[in-house]
Symmetry: C2
């Protein structure tokens, strides 16, 4: 049995009020503290884990640690979203692309691998960083 507590509600409410945003456990702690309802870090982690297991939030793992975001209900029309992470600036982009969906179907049908898009992060360079990198090649040292 799970009890409803204000900490539990605060964590979910914070993520729910910031849809699309990816937050770390530390950022959540900070936000909740500033909002006047401080929640211990351990409790934050516990709720994030439970909320993820219950399908209310998604977790995205990066080399810099885990980030969490509110889970739009895909069952009710929400589009699956793919994640692109820029290795240079750390930004995480969301992409809805039919080619990607098709590729995942191909991997499943022809390579017997069922991709979990929520855990899969394409690592690379975003447009701005790629351009910056190119320019750097032409600069004087």
């Amino acid at each position: 049995m799970s009890h409803s507590t204000k900490q539990r509600q605060a964590v979910l409410a914070c993520l729910s009020g910031r849809r699309g945003e990816l937050l770390s456990a530390a950022e959540l702690t900070q936000i909740l503290r500033q909002a006047g309802s401080p929640v211990g870090l351990a409790t934050i982690y516990r709720h994030l884990t439970r909320l993820e297991e219950a399908g209310f939030v998604h977790r995205v793992n990066t080399p810099e640690g885990a980030f969490y975001r509110y889970c739009e209900e895909e069952s009710s029309g929400g589009r699956e979203c793919f994640l692109l992470r820029c290795e240079s600036c750390g930004q995480i982009l969301h992409l809805d692309c039919s080619h990607l969906r098709a590729l995942y179907e191909h991997l499943e049908r022809d390579h017997h691998f069922i991709v979990n898009p929520r855990e899969t992060v394409f690592s690379g360079l975003c447009e701005a960083c790629a351009r910056r990198g190119k320019e750097a090649l032409h600069e004087q040292p």
Copy 2:
């Protein structure tokens, strides 16, 4: 200037002798110790970092930590390899697939995102684990 030391050679030799295998720093330490040429963990990490920067090894990040493998020289005909990681059994599969290459070209051309295949790991379920999962659904509790 970098000095050639037996530790440096041992690390590269170990990875080079196990092409295709993904090893953690701890596993490398273990293997080298058993082979009679122990190398300190800090030194292993230092060499792995330098070898990766120099292009001799690839690093793959997973929620369980980083893994390293010898870098086949792609410039001389080696095929780019894509990484699929089973969330259930932890196995990492290598895949050479033209659809994937095509998708990366699409992402670069149409979404201006340059994917780094070495850092990108598709997370999901391998064939065996997917089958096991399906069977489990039909089992009696």
